[in-house]
């Protein structure tokens, strides 16, 4: 409980400090809007030219896109401590100051940053979800809403976990290891579209190793009433749990890796 209070308190303080430069903040928020708006424009143009993608109609594609961007940017907004410069903290030796304080490492890292500029990206994602829901004529029910929330939340946890792998590798190699970006940012790009359109190696990568398909696509396809991979409905409720599961595995690895942590000095 104390941890949650601490997190909320530091979020409040960080927000306040970011708002000290209102013009810069406004322009950067606008830039985020242009960025995610550009991605959505690309989707609109693709739909304009191709109409559909395999079994998925235009509305379904909007829905998948929206689900990915809401999940990814919620994580970037509230988990900025981990998705931002966690590797840099290790490289620069800044982790030392965290180690001497009487709180967990992850708690403190999570409390160290927030990125409210992402709000416009999340707004674009929500818009895409609404358009998708309208175009595909989704009949909402309580269970479907629950599934949407479950998918998004477990997706957030999964993305946090994937970003932590870079920090783990950084403990061992000191240098930042950019190819992990292939899983995080690459996952975001690839999984804006439903997974079943990709060739097998990519499908395996994003279903088993970095299970974006399990956490986001199965619930989304269940909400759209079009089964992905032909899996049954109950699978859509169970599969998002793979997100927290992956996070747990990576968390244990992180704890193990911390024993090898040697400060680089500062």
């Amino acid at each position: 409980m104390n941890t949650a209070k601490l997190y909320l308190h530091s979020m409040g303080m960080l927000m306040k400090s970011q708002l000290q430069y209102p013009v810069s903040f406004f322009l950067q928020t606008l830039a985020q809007l242009v960025m995610e708006g550009g991605e959505m424009l690309a989707l609109i143009l693709v739909i304009d030219r191709f109409d559909r993608l395999g079994q998925w109609a235009a509305g379904d594609l909007f829905f998948f896109f929206g689900m990915m961007s809401v999940t990814f940017y919620l994580t970037e907004c509230f988990g900025r401590g981990i998705t931002g410069n966690f590797p840099y903290l290790i490289r620069s030796g800044g982790l030392d100051t965290i180690l001497v304080r009487p709180r967990g490492v992850l708690t403190q890292v999570l409390c160290s940053a927030v990125d409210p500029r992402r709000i416009t990206c999340i707004a674009v994602g929500v818009t895409a979800l609404l358009i998708g829901s309208r175009l595909s004529g989704i009949r909402w029910a309580f269970l479907k809403g629950l599934l949407l929330v479950e998918g998004i939340l477990s997706g957030c946890v999964l993305i946090l976990g994937l970003f932590m792998t870079e920090a783990i590798l950084c403990i061992h190699s000191v240098k930042s290891v950019e190819f992990v970006n292939a899983l995080t940012y690459g996952g975001r790009s690839a999984c804006q579209y439903p997974m079943d359109i990709y060739p097998r190696p990519l499908r395996v990568l994003f279903t088993v190793i970095a299970p974006f398909a399990m956490t986001l696509h199965l619930p989304a396809s269940c909400i759209l009433d079009k089964p992905l991979y032909g899996w049954p409905v109950w699978a859509a409720f169970v599969s998002p749990l793979s997100g927290p599961a992956v996070f747990l595995i990576i968390y244990v690895c992180f704890q193990k890796a911390m024993r090898f942590y040697r400060s680089t000095g500062n």
Binding site: Y21, S24, F26, L27, Q28, L30, A31, V34, M35, G38, E39, L41, A42, L45, V46, D48, R49, F50, D51, R52, L53, G54, K175, V177, E178, F179, N181, A182, G186, S189, A190, Y193, I197, Y198, P199, L202
Partner: protein, 263 residues
């Protein structure tokens, strides 16, 4: 001229230093390329288009290979402006605009060639339908190289305009990010310009951003034939001229009213 050449060599050597980062960058870029190509292949399987898929695939590979030409900016200048050490550059007996122009050119050229050539070699050997196809014709390749050089001049001029904004506002992260994103979209990095709606083609291919990579790629794939070569190259030259002129004006105005940040 000699001074500019030595600035070029210094920056080129600096760009060559980080080989590990380069390898990571290549792998990442190739992975992104493969994702995009799988997506377009799936889209084509649903609804084939007039434009052959091999053109789209080549477009994606060339965009990924020269990604570094679009997005590489001089990180030093921002710091120099914020700390006031730009005053040292003002003392140099050379034109400031030219100094930064040549620096950014060395960085973009070295960065993109170092990453691009290994990537393109790899892409040439991929199976049919996944890899880069050979250029449409030898003269097409020659003109596309020429167009690429003009594109490089264009992107360096654009970068200098962005830097001029940085000088004005000190913290130009917002403006910079927006201009860069505009570039990624309108240069065809996020979605090939050839896949934009047909009715837009006339306008978007005339914009400066289309001159950077889109025009050279279209010469490479044979989308632009020899008969249109002169017209397209002329458009490119006009843009290089206009953008350099605009950048120069902005820089000289900035230099007149530059306030140094003391420290």
């Amino acid at each position: 001229m000699k001074a500019y050449l030595s600035v070029f060599h210094i920056r080129r050597k600096m760009e060559l230093q980080y080989r590990g980062a380069m390898l990571g960058g290549i792998l990442c870029q190739m992975f992104f390329g493969l994702i995009l190509i799988s997506l377009y292949r799936a889209l084509y399987a649903s609804k084939p288009q007039e434009l052959p898929i091999s053109h789209v695939v080549s477009y994606v590979w060339l965009q990924q290979a020269f990604f570094r030409m679009l997005l590489a900016s001089d990180p030093d200048l921002g710091d120099k402006i914020r700390t006031g050490s730009i005053s040292y550059d003002l003392c140099r007996p050379m034109d400031l605009y030219g100094f930064y122009y040549i620096r950014i050119m060395a960085q973009k050229l070295t960065g993109s060639l170092m990453r691009g050539i290994p990537m393109l070699c790899f892409a040439l050997f991929l199976p049919r339908g996944w890899g880069l196809t050979l250029p449409s014709s030898p003269p097409g390749l020659a003109i596309s190289v020429l167009a690429l050089i003009l594109g490089l001049l264009c992107v360096c001029a654009l970068e200098n305009i962005t830097m001029a904004f940085t000088m004005r506002t000190l913290d130009a992260k917002g403006v910079q990010a927006m201009l860069n994103l505009l570039m990624l979209i309108l240069a065809g990095n996020i979605l090939p310009l050839t896949l934009f709606p047909d009715s837009w083609q006339k306008v978007i291919t005339l914009l400066p951003y289309a001159q950077l990579l889109d025009a050279p790629i279209r010469f490479y794939t044979g989308e632009y034939g020899m008969d249109r070569a002169l017209r397209i190259l002329l458009v490119q030259i006009v843009w290089v001229f206009l953008l350099t002129l605009l950048g120069r004006l902005m820089w000289s105005r900035n230099q007149k009213r530059l306030i140094l940040q003391g420290g």
